[in-house]
Assembly symmetry: C2
Homo-oligomer: 323 residues x 2
């Protein structure tokens, strides 16, 4: 949680005036977002999120992220929509940062997701995958297979200071992944970070998806693998097959998986666990203990990875008898 | 800026249900408030601030603070109003903390106040002073004269590590204040912390006052002295007499100062500078460098104090010829 950039009231009033949204009524920095500075902004025309992009975001990626939200919204996905200023720009500068004003999306993210919510997130993700079709821009997934080895090299020497044996575990797992990483899967735009805090609900109904700042082109089924990790483990770190089945059923109600995707799921889930284990290990080793941002515990992903290593087929995620 | 207490979505939904405000639509922790945890909460009926009172607030004071907001609002002051739950309570428990839901007040606080805004804050403060009359509860000002010596004793030994000579400056100033502190001034409820971030404007119009968590019974003119310090120095630390005159003119348009109050103003302003110099020095010495909360620089108040020491009469704050 952090506000990295303090915005001056007069600067902001001038910025808002460029959007023709009526007068600025209030703005407050919000304690969310590890990467960027976010404010809730109330104008006469409604509520918005103002995002100032900080140094971890590559400005060259911003047209992809903002354009994607517009493309998905036009395709029926409920997601925040960048507002265009009176000259048609969805990206501007404020306080020396690239900045966008984005529609405010109501909803609350579930701290402990329920089975029914896993179904809904599966369905929404599949809808998003279909809606991503035809988007004119593309962006490589920098945090897929090719990115893991360089990240491992950066954390390897100190990995055992996080957890004894972590270096060996990661080295062995990377070898497996490099040998067996699934290819020839249906590709498209994936969210790549669809954790619980990026999915909003009002009551039991899913009200929208947010935070597309890791979105990229990759295997669609990899997005499901991220969600198996992010949504389907209980607080005691045991895998919850009811949630796994709900997630996959929800997804396949909109976009059925082909045989290759089904077969690939255990390996994709291992890869997704390694991806978050690596980035969290890196952040754990490189974030000062006194930073404004809470470090996320990498241990959770060791436990997840060890579970996926025992999985033989997609049916182990659903409890269904293998066909 | 800090969110000390993370509130769970289901706990909050249950909490909100007790107020009959419709469904919970969203909540986000805001990066404001040094003392407490604050969330912006959107319900079907509108926007609110949820405050969880952390350890620096004495729960015994909460009925005074919340009751005062109700009393002032009833008296025509625009300020946040505690919402009462369906059983009539304006104070409840959430996540093991005392918690109140408070109406959201639109407005933006001025980062660099203008002369016209100083007039408005003077007028609003005088209106608040009149509206405080008849409030049934009272609260001693723990940070007035009697509280300064004990605070000085806590910082004295290390004061010179903040600024060489600070210990001597404070010791000498405290002796003066203890000998010359004005008595027999009109008393009432004061805000006691009416800094720029506690006064909201929409455009040029003052839209309300917030944060009554230092409010107490004391000399009304002392509140003006706090504002002379908080509003009327320019960014180069020089006193701006146009702002001083505007503040006092705005105040006296509603409640003229009597002769004793006018005479007392320079000494009250010195006391107010010492009060903030002492608490900031204490926080400076006792807040870990890695804390979530930004430490406010005590130096600013050394500069202010030195100016007030040169002031001979209230007319030095306004540039008016002394009558």
């Amino acid at each position: 949680m952090a506000v990295y950039t303090e915005v001056n009231d007069e600067e902001l009033a001038r910025f808002i005036a460029g959007y023709g949204l009526g007068r600025l009524l209030s703005y407050k920095g919000i304690a969310e977002g590890v990467e960027n500075t976010n404010y809730i902004v109330h104008c006469e025309s409604g509520s918005y999120i103002l995002t100032l992009y900080e140094k971890r975001v590559d400005p060259a990626d911003l047209p992809f992220f903002l354009g994607l939200m517009e493309h998905l919204a036009a395709g029926g996905v409920t997601c925040p929509l960048p507002v265009r200023d009176t000259e048609g720009r969805n990206l501007n500068m404020l306080c020396g940062r690239h900045a966008a004003l984005i529609t405010f999306l109501d909803g609350v993210w579930p701290r402990q997701p329920k089975v029914a919510q896993c179904f809904e997130v599966g369905r929404a993700m599949a809808t998003m995958h279909l809606a991503g079709d035809g988007f004119s821009l593309s962006r490589k997934n920098a945090l897929s297979l090719a990115g893991w080895r360089p990240l491992f090299d950066k954390v390897a020497a100190r990995a055992d200071s996080i957890l004894p044996g972590l270096q060996t575990l990661l080295a062995a797992e990377l070898s497996v992944l490099e040998k067996s990483w699934p290819r020839d899967l249906p590709q498209g735009i994936i969210h790549a970070d669809l954790f619980t805090d990026n999915v909003f609900f009002i009551g039991d109904a899913l009200s929208g998806l947010i935070d597309f700042y890791f979105a990229c082109n990759d295997a669609l089924a990899y997005d499901i693998a991220v969600c198996l990790n992010a949504w389907c483990f209980d607080t005691d770190f045991s895998f919850n097959r009811d949630k796994g089945r709900a997630l996959l059923d929800g997804y396949q109600a909109v976009r059925p998986l082909n045989a290759l995707e089904q077969k690939a799921m255990p390996m994709l889930a291992r890869g997704a666990a390694v991806r978050f284990l690596l980035t969290r290990s890196y952040d754990w080793l490189n974030t000062p203990k006194d930073a404004l941002v809470a470090r996320k515990d990498p241990f959770d992903y060791v436990r997840r990875l060890r579970f996926h290593q025992t999985v033989k087929s997609i049916s182990d995620y659903t409890g269904d008898r293998q066909s």
